[in-house]
Each structure stands twice: as structure tokens, then as C-alpha cells.
């Protein structure tokens, strides 16, 4: 996984709450057996609407999504994260993420930056005034920045320490866990014999 230190990119405002995983990518798009190509299903129902934010030319290069609360609710499909990444997004900013979506983002290298609801509103206002403006998300300092001068926005975002460290280092969880082999084997040796087995 690539290291994530900081990212500056065009930010697209997605002014909806409860953007669930079926809206991020409907089930009919989940049939691929690869991790790529899912951008065709991203926000599939909305993409056919010319007025949808991502269809506007100023957001053609968007790589930061600024969304309403409860982003990523619903299914456990990591395809939702891949679809955002395949499309070109590096960061999603929201005031609340569903747990599984946030976990999947951390594993796949998409930064889910949780900010106060007021920060989302300020970013939306800023993007309304300056369509196509960029937002900087700095993982080292955990800050979100946009604009300059007296109206500049600078605020902190939340991410758990462990996920932050892994993203900064670009580390693979499985490699870390496999280094605990002795502890896993010791645990297994003490499991009750009546626990079920499938084979």
C-alpha cells in the first residue's frame, strides 16, 4: 500500500446525508473478481443526472469528497471504497462514517477524515463560492485546509492513531499479524476441543 502523508486536490461537495453503500455502488456492479474497474458503478443512479456534482466540468478532477453525515452506511462491500479510489478519490471528509466503511477505507488506503459537522458546512459554503477549489488534507498534522486570507478554513480531523500510523507508513496489516505467529499458535493450543470445525 502507498504511504499517505498529505493530499491536495479538487474537492466535490456531496450534499446528502446517509449516502449508503448501495448508492456508492449498486449490487449489480459488484460482479468483478478484481480490485479495479469499479469506477463505472460509482454513484451509478446519480451519474445519469447532468446536474449531479461529479458531472460538472469544474469537478472533473475531483479527488476529495466532502459528504454529509453517516457516509457509507449499509453493506460491508469494500467495493464502495475501491469504486471511490478507482474513480480518483483519495479522501472522503464527513462528520460521521459507518464503522465498516471507515475500516475498509483504512485497509485499502482511502483516507476517511472525520470532522465536525460545522466544518463540512463551511467547506460546502467555500466550494459553493469557489467551484473547483482545492482542499488540503494533512495526515501528519491531522488538519483540513481550504482557501486563504481571512476566510481560510483550517481545522482538525479525527482518525484513530493506529490507522493513521499504518497509512503514514503504508503498512500491510497481514504482514504485521503474521509476525505474531507464536501468540496465535499459543491461543489455538488452548481452545476448547468442542468448538465446531467445518472439516
Amino acid at each position: 500500500m502507498d504511504k499517505f502523508i498529505t493530499h491536495t486536490g479538487v474537492a466535490a461537495p456531496l450534499k446528502r446525508s446517509n449516502v449508503d453503500t448501495d448508492q456508492i455502488i449498486p449490487a449489480v456492479y459488484l460482479k468483478r473478481v478484481t480490485r479495479t474497474g469499479f469506477e463505472d458503478g460509482l454513484f451509478a443512479a446519480w451519474r445519469s443526472d447532468p446536474a449531479f456534482v461529479l458531472n460538472k466540468p469544474e469537478y472533473a478532477e475531483a479527488s476529495v469528497l466532502v459528504a454529509g453525515p453517516d457516509f457509507g452506511t449499509g453493506s460491508s462491500r469494500e467495493h464502495a471504497v475501491w469504486a471511490l479510489q478507482n474513480y480518483g478519490f483519495k479522501v472522503v471528509i464527513s462528520s460521521r462514517f459507518a464503522d465498516i466503511f471507515r475500516g475498509n477505507s483504512g485497509k485499502a488506503g482511502l483516507l476517511a477524515a472525520q470532522v465536525d459537522e460545522k466544518v463540512v458546512q463551511r467547506l460546502w459554503d467555500h466550494l459553493d463560492d469557489h467551484p473547483g477549489a482545492t482542499v488540503t488534507v494533512d495526515l501528519e498534522t491531522r488538519t483540513v485546509k481550504a482557501g486563504d486570507g481571512p476566510d481560510a478554513i483550517e481545522d482538525s480531523f479525527d482518525i484513530d492513531d493506529y490507522t493513521r500510523w499504518r497509512l503514514l507508513e503504508g503498512l500491510d496489516d497481514i504482514g504485521i499479524t503474521l509476525s505474531r505467529e507464536e501468540e496465535i499458535a499459543a491461543y489455538e493450543a488452548a481452545r476448547p476441543s468442542w468448538k465446531p470445525a467445518t472439516l
Binding site: Q23, V28, K31, D70, G74, S75, I176, I184, R191, P192
Partner: protein, 478 residues
């Protein structure tokens, strides 16, 4: 200080705990299916890794399989490739698979409990958010993404931050005709879709204790719909009676040892939850959704709400968008909403008890002429059991379609989909935009409401049905 049930089960599975790290948790059972596993197996191959414990892993085909012509090759080539990829991966890595056509095939969350693999005190994961279903047995069970599926395959563990705990205490008794589904839909409207976030929830109280295992599974299944990490219920005699004698349940002395341990899996009296919600079951009524998330619900006797009636602006905006998508007007009585398709099935309500209840209500009636009723058993075993009991005949005589086992119209990944604008009453778990097919409009309902709605063609409860008049044998005068 005492511990909660969730804390006890969690503590029993900690392989390693250290400051600044999530706990490393051992996984007792890993369930897999065709949609969220191919990239995980690919990852193993790329890194030259193996499946650590194939004997704690079980695969079935459910999300993407047809419920018609299941004995023929899958028509859609992309779906077929996905299913064939699971078969190849299971063979290569030595994982037990119940494929389409197998007697144990079905929805992964129906198959685990019915085999007796789902047991109290276990940790169970699957690349599917409705894994919370298995919590009905007093297990910690939750959905994971594909990267985590790969992690469990390679290590039989997961890194997990310890969640907070919440109690949902449901006092009193559910009135007749009000089901576990109504209970959980009422709860979600009360909490909103994010209310459970960060918590493992323990459902308890008289109404929960009085539920069958099927009803408990319905409640735990929808834990994710209000954002909870997992939902569980303390195991009791109902749990043990359900499990005893099932193929993978412990036998003989092992059974006794297991039950002795399972009896200890209750929340201690002096344990503290981080949060508690108390509900009264005796005031609950049949409950249905009007919007596009499971927290947008009202009693069946109510009406479509006016968006202006919500206090929070974001709820008002969400309600306006939902009504527009659903094609509904504020103030319309729910009972006047006409439904095109009724779907009975899914990991929420696709078990034998659900089909029995639906058949009991529909028996002697006909499905409304403008409505179709799709009955999709949760597993092949459920289908066979239903056929043994003649339930299929009742459904077919009423005019319903009797299908093969799978997830089907719950998520509209296979050909069972709504068309744009088509309205469903569905016993499944999600009413998201496009969930059951692009442009489809979903009302989440209980089994009794689904069955009555199929007969009347509008959202209804069994109380709205005319009584079935049994043909009377008249003695002919000679």
C-alpha cells in the same frame, strides 16, 4: 466489577493486547461467499500465503445466484465467472463449499445456524454486514470488508478496537401479530441509522427472551441498520433447544461441557453498559418504512410524515428527498399505498418459521391480481422443509412464485429485481435507493404485513383480510 456478555466473549478471544494497538482477536468461524472473497484469495496467491484454518472456514453461494433454473449454468457470464471463481478458490485452498445445487446451499446467515455451526460464545465474521444475525446465539458476529476477509484467511485473527457496550432492554410482551421485525424497525426509527455506531449491543428484557431463535435472528440481523458493530442476545434454554442435535453441534460429553460454559455467558448483575435504551414491547404495532433508509418508519396505522415535522434540518432534507424518490405525498395513510411486488425471503425473514407464518396468513386467499408475490426460501433446507409441510402448495395455489434459495431481491444482484418506479413490500432489511433494482421503491415490512399486502395489493395487516370461508359440506336431501 462484573462484565457484560459482550465483554466476556471478547475477552475469551483476545490473542494479544497492547497499548496503542487494536486487540488481536481470534476468529472461531469465517463464512465466505462469492461476492466479497475473490480479491481476498487473489491477495493470498500474490503474497504466497495459505488459508491458516480451512477447518474454521465455510463457503456458500448466495448473493449472485439465480432462484430460477438453478440447475442450469448461470446465464449472466459475469455472475457465472464470480461463482466459478469461488469454486476454484475453495478447491485450491481446501475450503468446504456448498455450491448451487447442494442440499446445504443457501444464504450464509441461514446456513450457519441451521447446520449448528453458529454457537454461543463464538466470534464469527463474514464479508457481509448482516453477519450480526449470528449474535442471536450469544456470539460476537460482524461483517468485514474484503481486506479483512484476506486477513482472516491468512491469520484466523482480526485487529479490532474494543467497542463500547450498549443494552437495549425491551420490556413487556409483543401484542399478538406484532413480530420481531416490527420490534427492530420500531427501534431503528427511534435511534436513527447511526444510533448504534461504535457499540456492541445486547438485546435483553422480557420481549427478547420470549422470541424464538428465528425472531432473535431477525432482531440481531438488523443491528447494522442502526449502525451497531454487532448485536447479541444471551444464550438460554431456547438457544440450547434449537442447537441440540444439529449436525455440527457438540455431542455427548462435549455437549455437556459446551452447555456448562454457555450458561456462564450472561451479563453480570453489577456489569455496566456504556449506554442503555429501554423500550416497551406492549405498545408496539405493525411497523413499516416510508423512506429510503431503515430509520424512516411509521406504524402501519400511520401516514407518510410531512418533512416539515422533523426538527433537524438534515432530517427534513432527507425526508423530502425520500418522498420524491418513493413517489409519496405527506399525509397519505400507509394503508392506501399500492404495492406491485411482495418479497418474502432474505437473511432477515427467510427461515422456516417465517415461511410458516406467511403461509398460515395467505392460506385460502389469492394474491391480488395486480401484485406479484415472490417467496424465496433462505436455504435449500428451508425450501425442502417447507415442501415437506406443504407450504409451497399454499403459496402456489394463492398465485405466488415459489423460488430457489438465495439472497435474491433483497439486494437485486441476481435477475430478481424491481423495475424503475416499481414498489415493493419487502421482508428484507434495506430500503435504500435502488437497493432492489434501479429506481425500485422499497417498503420494509414484517412477514404478516407482507402476506396480507400480497392479498390486498395495498400495505395491510392480517386484520384487514376478510376471513376465509371454508367450503361447507352440505348433506344432499334424497
Amino acid at each position: 466489577m462484573g462484565r457484560t456478555l459482550a465483554e466476556k466473549v471478547w475477552d475469551e478471544h483476545v490473542v494479544r493486547t497492547a497499548d496503542g494497538e487494536p486487540d488481536l482477536l481470534y476468529i472461531d468461524l469465517h463464512l465466505i461467499h462469492e461476492v466479497t472473497s475473490p480479491q481476498a484469495f487473489d491477495g493470498l496467491r500474490l503474497a504466497g500465503r495459505t488459508v491458516r484454518r480451512p477447518d474454521l472456514t465455510l463457503a456458500t453461494e448466495d448473493h449472485n445466484v439465480p432462484t430460477l433454473d438453478w440447475d442450469k449454468p448461470i446465464a449472466d457470464p459475469v455472475s457465472r465467472t464470480q461463482v466459478e471463481t469461488l469454486r476454484r478458490n475453495a478447491a485450491e485452498f481446501g475450503v468446504r463449499l456448498h455450491p448451487l445445487g447442494d442440499v446445504e446451499q443457501g444464504i450464509v446467515h441461514v446456513v450457519g445456524p441451521q447446520l449448528g455451526l453458529t454457537q454461543p460464545g463464538m466470534t464469527i465474521v463474514c464479508g457481509d454486514s448482516h453477519t450480526s444475525t449470528h449474535g442471536a446465539f450469544g456470539a460476537i458476529a460482524f461483517g468485514i470488508g474484503t481486506s479483512e476477509v484476506e486477513h482472516v484467511l491468512a491469520t484466523q485473527t482480526l485487529m479490532q478496537a474494543r467497542p463500547k457496550t450498549m443494552a437495549v432492554t425491551v420490556n413487556g410482551t409483543l401484542p399478538p401479530g406484532v413480530t420481531a421485525k416490527d420490534l427492530v424497525l420500531t427501534l431503528i426509527t427511534h435511534t436513527g441509522t447511526g444510533g448504534g455506531q461504535g457499540y456492541i449491543v445486547e438485546y435483553r428484557g422480557q420481549a427478547i427472551e420470549e422470541l424464538s431463535m428465528e425472531g432473535r435472528m431477525t432482531v440481531c440481523n438488523m443491528s447494522i441498520e442502526w449502525g451497531a458493530k454487532a448485536g447479541l442476545i444471551a444464550p438460554d434454554q431456547t438457544t440450547f433447544d434449537y442447537l441440540e442435535g444439529r449436525p455440527e453441534a457438540p455431542k455427548g460429553a462435549d455437549w455437556d461441557a459446551a452447555v456448562a460454559h454457555w450458561r456462564s455467558l450472561v451479563t453480570d448483575e453489577d456489569a455496566q453498559f456504556d449506554e442503555e435504551i429501554v423500550l416497551d414491547a406492549s405498545t408496539m404495532t405493525p411497523f413499516v418504512t416510508w423512506g429510503t433508509n431503515p430509520g424512516q418508519g411509521v406504524p402501519l396505522g400511520g401516514a407518510v410524515p410531512d418533512p416539515a415535522s422533523f426538527d433537524e434540518e438534515q432530517d427534513r432534507v432527507a425526508a423530502e428527498k425520500a418522498l420524491e424518490y418513493m413517489g409519496l405525498e405527506a399525509g397519505t395513510p400507509m394503508r392506501e399505498i399500492k404495492v406491485d411486488t411482495v418479497f418474502v425471503g432474505s437473511c432477515t425473514n427467510g427461515r422456516i418459521e417465517d415461511l410458516r407464518l406467511a403461509a398460515e396468513i395467505i392460506k385460502g386467499h389469492k394474491v391480488d391480481k395486480d401484485t406479484r408475490l415472490l417467496v424465496v426460501p433462505g436455504s435449500v433446507r428451508v425450501r425442502m422443509q417447507a415442501e415437506d409441510e406443504g407450504l409451497d402448495v399454499i403459496f402456489k395455489e394463492a398465485g405466488a412464485e415459489w423460488r430457489g434459495a438465495g439472497c435474491s431481491m433483497c439486494l437485486g444482484m441476481n435477475p430478481d429485481q424491481l423495475t424503475p418506479g416499481e414498489r415493493s413490500a419487502s421482508t428484507s432489511n434495506r430500503n435504500f435507493e435502488g437497493r432492489q433494482g434501479k429506481g425500485g421503491r422499497t417498503h420494509l415490512v414484517s412477514i404478516p404485513v407482507a402476506a396480507a399486502t400480497a392479498v390486498r395489493g395495498t400495505l395491510s395487516s392480517p386484520a384487514d383480510l376478510a376471513p376465509v370461508v371454508e367450503p361447507v359440506e352440505t348433506s344432499r336431501a334424497k
